[in-house]
Structure formats: C-alpha cells, structure tokens
Symmetry: D2
C-alpha cells in the first residue's frame, strides 16, 4: 500500500469500522447479522469476486489486458465488510488472528519442504499451500 | 476492537503485510498467486469458515453455547490473508475500497426503504442486503 | 419425483446430456470448459443458489411463506448442468459415484453413533454430517 | 456415459434416491435438512471439489498428468447428493429444471453472438457464459 502512511491506515480502519457499524445500526440490520448469516454472506461475495475470473486463462493476452479493477475492488470490499462484521460479532480481532495464523503456517510449511511447491501440508512431503 | 489503540492497529497491519509477503517470497510461492488462483482460494477458505455453521440453528441453545472460536478465527484469518494477497497483487487498497463501497451502499439502501428489511436493492421497494 | 416413470427419467437424462453437449459444441465453448473452470463455475452457481437463503430465518413465517421456486430451480439447474459437464470431461459417472459415496457414508456414519446428530465423522463420537 | 444403457441409468437413479432417503431417515437427519442448510452444504462441497484445482495451471504437465479422480468423484458425488436432497425437499425435478434452463440459455446465448466467446449474456454483444 504505497503512499499511505501508518497513521492514514489506522485512521482509515477506525473510520471504516465506525461507518460500517453506523450503516448497519441506522437500518436496523443487526437482527440479520447472525454469525451464520454473515458466514453465508462472505461465501456469496467471495463467489461474486470469483465470477470475474471464471473463464480467465492466466497468462493469456486477456488476463494481461487488465481486469475490470473497479468492479473487482467492489467485490473484494464486500468480502471484507462482511468479514469485519463477522469478526466484530464474535469478538475476533482480524489482524491479530491473521498474524497468529501466519505464525502457524510458517511452522506447517517449512521453507525446505515448501519451496516452489503448492502442496498442502497434510500431504507432505510432496505438496504446500496455505 | 476494544483496547487496541490506533497505533497498535496500524503497527499490526504493517507487520502483517510485511510478514505475509516475506512468508510467500521465502517459499517462492508468488508463481502460484495469480489473481484467479487467489480468488479461488478466498472462496475455498470462505467455505471452510462456513462449514462451522453448516448445521447451526440460530437461536438454539447450541448456537448460544458458543462456537469453536479459535478454529473459526483461523478460517477468518485465511480468508483475510488471501484477500490481502489478492488486493496487493492488483494494487487495490482494501480499506479505501471498503470505505468507497460503504458510501455506495448508503446510496443504494436509503434508511427509509431499508429499515428492518433484508431486501436486495435490485428488488426495491420490497427487499435490502449489502 | 412423483408421476415420473423410470422410462421418463431415463429418456430425460439422455435428452439432457445430448442437448447440453450440442449447446456447448454449437457455441464452440469446449475450449473454456477445463476441469478447473467448470469446478469454479459449480462454486459460483452454488453461491447464487445460496443467495436465495442468505437472510432466511428457518422456521419463520417468511420461510414458510414459500420461496421463489422458479428462480431457485434455475440456480439448482445451473449447478447440475456444470456438474454434468465437469463429470463428462473427467469420465465420471455421477449416479455411480453418488451410490459409491453413499455406501462410504453409511460406513462412516453408523446409525448408532449418528442418530439425530449432525456431527462430522472426523469428530466422532460427538458429531455427524455427510 | 458410455456402456451404460438407459435402463441402467434409470434403475441407478431410482436406487440412488431410495438409498439416499433411507440413509437420511435411518439417522433422523431430516431435521437438519432445511433448504437453507442444504444450500449451504452444496456450497461447502462445491468448494471442496474446487480445492483439487486450487493451484492447477491448466495446460501444464501437472494438469495433463491426471487428477486424483477417485477423490474428485467423491466430492462431485457430495455436491450431487446434497443437490438431490435440496431438490427433493422443495419438489424440484432436477432433470426437468435442467432441460428448461438449457432452453432458456439457448435463447440468451444465440450461436451468432456467443460463438467462441465466454461473455455473459448481460454484457452482450461482447461476452457469453451460462
């Protein structure tokens, strides 16, 4: 994230969370936002994001040509917004959880076994994904 | 996110992004991380998150009893980590994109039409989701 | 499937497969239908099906009121059509595979351990889903 | 589906549906099988199917080498089994719905506009998927 300072990021996340909660509260939508419904919503938005790549052949001129970035950013935002609501509802701090998971992945995927391989850790010593 | 100051959040996100990139680079995994593959990965992790709620009846004693929060936080972290990699690859700033989308949703879902209703904006004036 | 005879079902599946292949061939779409792209498509259509239930509270008047069955049937059909194309491409007979899996599930989920419980077999003796 | 006669297919689907219902009833699992939970389950299984292709580069030696067909057939079967339960619960005949949808797609995607193009019909005249 070039050209965005730490202070900017921090202010932005704080603003985002405040606006998101206000948006939901103003519409009386907390009633719909059970953990299950939000998990369902994350999956639905993830699929809408994926739809932009449904027929893409990576490496082809098409994929080099550029994607519809504005529409894609909106779908990525939808996944993120529902993820933030989900985590807030269950008291999960997303950045802390991600740091923790990254530490766990570093243990699961030692560089020596994983270098250049997309093998899932459960299938070592022949495979390595997150 | 109580008890986490702005400065903490900011430092955490910076640390997270740096560690995530290092994790990927050390394993020579950039080659697998095309936008399409990362979008696929977000969907897969979103479904693993959803699996924790597959048979949950909201409002039931089970759902009140508490969810396996540690496992759930890990799956939420996986969605987030892939989402960060995806956005980084396409030059999307997730917090900015989310703020932007929230503004758009506020227009799409006027309080008067959306209050207490889960109707999708495309089906107004009878329905209202994000 | 009441009022549909075996012979009807059989003729219908045969007609369906023939028409599906013709539909794809006439449009020169085989080139897009790699196993990966079809697996992606199944996930996307499954999410579109799920969207109809995103905010549904089961047991509520809304859910009793009836769902938009025509739209839902179309999404279910989309999942099925892509699943048929996927299986055809990999030489998988879906009905045989399903019978086989059902036998495996019967072993994984003994009635005594699974009765009335939605626990995944990997978590026995306390959990039981497919 | 070579070497499988119509009568075989028909008998197989009938056997499959009967066994599936018996499997569910014996375990008293109808209570979990609401339309919403089954739609959730279809999405989860679709993602497990997709996981087999997460890092596949189509056209690469890996993808030519062959996929783990047995494991893949099991995941395809899981999607199908939940889809059958879902349709049964809502009174949808899957083969009829698919034939109907195929007719609709043929209208949406005229050969002249769709030939060799993966453009979604909503974006004609420049795009064409199911």
């Amino acid at each position: 994230m070039p050209n965005v300072t730490d202070a900017d990021q921090s202010a932005m996340l704080r603003e985002l969370l405040a606006k998101l909660e206000e948006f939901v509260r103003e519409r009386d939508w907390e009633q719909f936002h059970t953990p299950k419904n939000l998990a369902v919503s994350i999956s639905i938005e993830a699929a809408e994001l994926l739809e932009h790549f449904q027929w893409v052949v990576e490496g082809s001129p098409e994929s080099a040509n550029g994607y519809p970035l504005e529409a894609i950013a909106e779908e990525a935002a939808d996944v993120y917004l529902y993820l933030l609501l989900f985590c807030k509802g269950l008291g999960i701090d997303l950045n802390s959880a991600a740091l923790e998971k990254l530490r766990k992945n570093a243990d699961r995927y030692p560089v020596r076994e994983s270098y250049g391989k997309s093998t899932k850790y459960t299938k070592f010593p022949t495979d390595g994904a997150m």
